[in-house]
C-alpha cells in the first residue's frame, strides 16, 4: 500500500503517489472504458479531483481505495452526463445473437459488457477485475451491498442473455429480447 512520506508536502505526496500509481489507474480506467484514449481522459479528470481531495486521500486508511473510488465515480458520472448523450457505444448489443451464429467468444463478451449501463459495468469491474467483495464494492460505489448484488446479477444476466444459448449455464441461457438500456442510471451524487 502506498504511504505518503511523513515529511513531504501535499504536492510532493501527490506527485509521488501519481507517479507510483499512474499505470494501475490507467489500466483500471481502460477496463472501465474499454478504450485507452477515453481511459486517459478519465484518468486525467480523476487526477484533478484526486488533488483537490488530497487532504482526505492522505488521511484515508486506504489511499488506493480512495483513488479507485474517485476514478470509478468519475466514470459513472461521465457516462451519465456526456457519453450517453453524445456517443453511440460501439458494440452495443440489442438482441441476442442467433444460436447458429459463430461469433468469437471474447468479442461477444466484450460487446455484451460494452452494452451494459455504466454502473453495472463498474460493478463488474470492481468485483471481477479489482476482486473486491460485495461490501468493498458497495463502499466504492456509495450504495448498499444489496445493490451491488443486484447490479452484479443484472449485469451478468444481461451478458448471459446477450451471448445467447451458447453461453447457457443456467436460467440466463435463454434467448434474450433486449440488453439493459444505457440510460436510466441512478448513480450517487457526484461533484
Amino acid at each position: 500500500m502506498w504511504r505518503p512520506a511523513m515529511s513531504g508536502s501535499r504536492d510532493d505526496e501527490y506527485t509521488e503517489y501519481v507517479a507510483a500509481r499512474l499505470s494501475s489507474l490507467r489500466r483500471l480506467a481502460a477496463v472501465l472504458c474499454d478504450d485507452w484514449q477515453r481511459a486517459d481522459d478519465l484518468v486525467q479528470a480523476a487526477l484533478v479531483k484526486l488533488y483537490v481531495h488530497w487532504g482526505r486521500v492522505r488521511a484515508a486508511s486506504h489511499t488506493d481505495a480512495y483513488a479507485r473510488a474517485v476514478l470509478v465515480r468519475e466514470f459513472i458520472h461521465e457516462r451519465r452526463s456526456t457519453w450517453v448523450k453524445r456517443v453511440t457505444l460501439k458494440g452495443r448489443v440489442t438482441d441476442a445473437p442467433a444460436a447458429t451464429v459463430d461469433h468469437d467468444a471474447v468479442l461477444d463478451v466484450r460487446a455484451a459488457v460494452a452494452a451494459l449501463p455504466a454502473r453495472q459495468r463498474a460493478t463488474l469491474v470492481l468485483r471481477f477485475y479489482c476482486d473486491l467483495n460485495v461490501d468493498q464494492a458497495a463502499e466504492v460505489l456509495g450504495c448498499s451491498p444489496g445493490t451491488v448484488k443486484s447490479q452484479t446479477a443484472r449485469a451478468l444476466g444481461a451478458v448471459r442473455r446477450a451471448l445467447g444459448p451458447a453461453a447457457g449455464d443456467g436460467p440466463g441461457g435463454q434467448p434474450a429480447t433486449r440488453v439493459a438500456s444505457h440510460t436510466g442510471e441512478g448513480a450517487p451524487g457526484h461533484d
Partner: protein, 368 residues
C-alpha cells in the same frame, strides 16, 4: 462460466496497455491546484469594485434578520455584484474549539475562507460566499443550487436546514462532502462545506449543529486584518490588476500567499480556465517554512543569479522562475503561453520589489 469470461475480458483489456500515455500529470496537478486554491476564485479580469454595494450588504447582512422569517430574501439589499479582491471583508464570528482561519481567498465572484486546526487538515470548514446572480436555486422542492462562476458548481440539495439568520438554508452534499447552503442576502448565496464523518453519525450531527452556528455568525463587512503583500510589482501595464488572491493569516495580518494578475477579458486558456490569463503572471510568495520541501534549490538545471539572488528558471509546461530565498522569501513566478507580455526573468529583475519578512514593511498595494 460467465464470470470467468468477464474476468478474462478485463484481464485482456488491462493487458493491452499502450506505452504512450496521454495523461498529463503536470496538467492534472496544475488544474487540481488551481481548483483547490482558486476554486472559489474567479476568472481573471480586472475587478470592478462596487464598494457601495459591498458596504450596503455588509450593513444589511451584519444586522440581525427579522426573527422567524425563513423564506427567500426578497427584500433588503442585494448581494454585491462583484467583490473587491483586495478587501477581504468576510470573517468567521464563531468556530468550534480548536479551529481558526487557515486560508482565504477572493475573486470578483467569490470570497472564501477555510477554517481548520491547521492548513490542509483532514477536517475543515470551507466557506464560499458568491456574488449576486452567481447562483440559482432550481426545483420545487429545491433540488440543486447551481453556481456558474468561477466554474460551474452544482450543489445537490438534500433537504431543508435550520434557517440561518432567518433566511432559508439547505443541507447539501456529494459522495464525500456535506455542506450547508443558505441565502445570505438578496440574490446572493453562500455555501459551507463541513467536516465529513461518514462512519460517525453522532459526530456528523454535531458538525451540522456547529455549521448552523458558524453560518449564523459570519461577519460581512466587519473589520478584518488587512490584506498585505510581501512583494510589490512596479512599472506594469496600467490595465493589469490582481484578479484573484489566496491569503493566510500571518503575524496579525492576512498575507497574500498566491495571486494572479489579469487584464481585459478572461482567457480560458492553458490551465483549465479557472484563473490564469495566458501570458500574464501569477505569483506564489511565502516564507520558505511554508513549504514542506523547497519548490526549487540552487544548482538545479536553469540556475542563475538575478539581482544577486539565486533563481531557477524552467520552461516545461509554463515559464517559471523560482527564487528559493530572496530577502527571506520563496518567490515563484509562473506564466502560461508562448508569448508572455513580460518574461518571468524581466518581472523578477525589473518589476519586483521584495519587501522582506517583516510584516510592518508589507504593502496593501501589490501594484505600485
Amino acid at each position: 462460466m460467465i464470470e470467468s469470461q468477464v474476468r478474462a475480458l478485463f484481464t485482456e483489456i488491462a493487458g493491452g496497455e499502450p506505452g504512450a500515455s496521454r495523461v498529463d500529470t503536470q496538467l492534472a496537478h496544475r488544474r487540481g491546484r488551481a481548483r483547490l486554491r482558486w476554486r472559489r476564485a474567479g476568472v481573471a479580469s480586472a475587478p470592478l469594485v462596487v464598494a457601495a454595494a459591498v458596504a450596503a450588504v455588509a450593513l444589511a447582512v451584519g444586522a440581525a434578520a427579522p426573527p422567524g422569517r425563513t423564506g427567500p430574501v426578497s427584500t433588503g439589499p442585494l448581494a454585491p455584484r462583484q467583490f473587491d479582491v483586495l478587501t477581504p471583508y468576510l470573517s468567521f464570528g464563531w468556530l468550534p474549539a480548536g479551529n481558526s482561519l487557515v486560508e482565504g481567498g477572493a475573486s470578483k465572484h467569490l470570497m472564501w475562507l477555510t477554517a481548520a486546526r491547521k492548513l490542509d487538515a483532514q477536517y475543515d470548514w470551507e466557506l464560499s460566499v458568491y456574488a449576486a446572480g452567481t447562483c440559482h436555486l432550481s426545483g420545487s422542492p429545491a433540488r440543486e443550487l447551481t453556481c456558474t462562476a468561477p466554474e460551474d458548481n452544482t450543489i445537490r440539495v438534500d433537504g431543508r436546514a435550520p434557517a440561518v439568520r432567518g433566511h432559508r438554508a439547505f443541507w447539501a452534499g456529494t459522495w464525500d462532502t456535506r455542506s450547508l447552503a443558505w441565502q445570505y442576502a438578496r440574490n446572493g448565496w453562500a455555501e459551507m462545506v463541513l467536516p465529513f464523518y461518514p462512519n460517525n453519525p453522532a459526530k456528523q450531527a454535531a458538525a451540522r449543529r456547529d455549521a448552523v452556528k458558524v453560518a449564523s455568525q459570519i461577519r460581512y463587512g466587519a473589520g478584518t486584518p488587512p490584506l498585505v503583500f510581501p512583494v510589490q510589482l512596479t512599472h506594469l501595464p496600467s490595465q493589469w490588476r490582481v484578479s484573484s488572491v489566496t491569503y493566510v493569516p500571518d503575524a496579525g495580518v492576512l498575507r497574500a500567499s498566491s495571486y494572479a494578475l489579469g487584464a481585459g477579458p478572461p482567457d480560458l486558456g492553458a490551465d483549465g480556465g479557472l484563473v490564469y490569463e495566458t501570458g500574464l503572471p501569477y505569483f506564489d510568495v511565502n516564507p520558505p517554512s511554508f513549504y514542506g520541501r523547497p519548490p526549487c534549490s540552487r544548482g538545479e538545471p536553469g540556475s542563475k543569479i538575478i539581482n544577486g539572488y539565486p533563481v531557477v528558471v524552467t520552461n516545461v509546461t509554463k515559464e517559471q522562475l523560482c527564487a528559493p530565498r530572496a530577502r527571506g522569501l520563496t518567490v515563484v513566478i509562473s506564466e502560461f503561453g508562448a508569448q508572455p507580455a513580460i518574461s518571468v526573468n524581466s518581472l523578477f529583475r525589473h518589476h519586483l520589489r521584495l519587501l522582506g519578512t517583516n510584516p510592518a514593511n508589507w504593502t496593501s498595494k501589490p501594484i505600485g
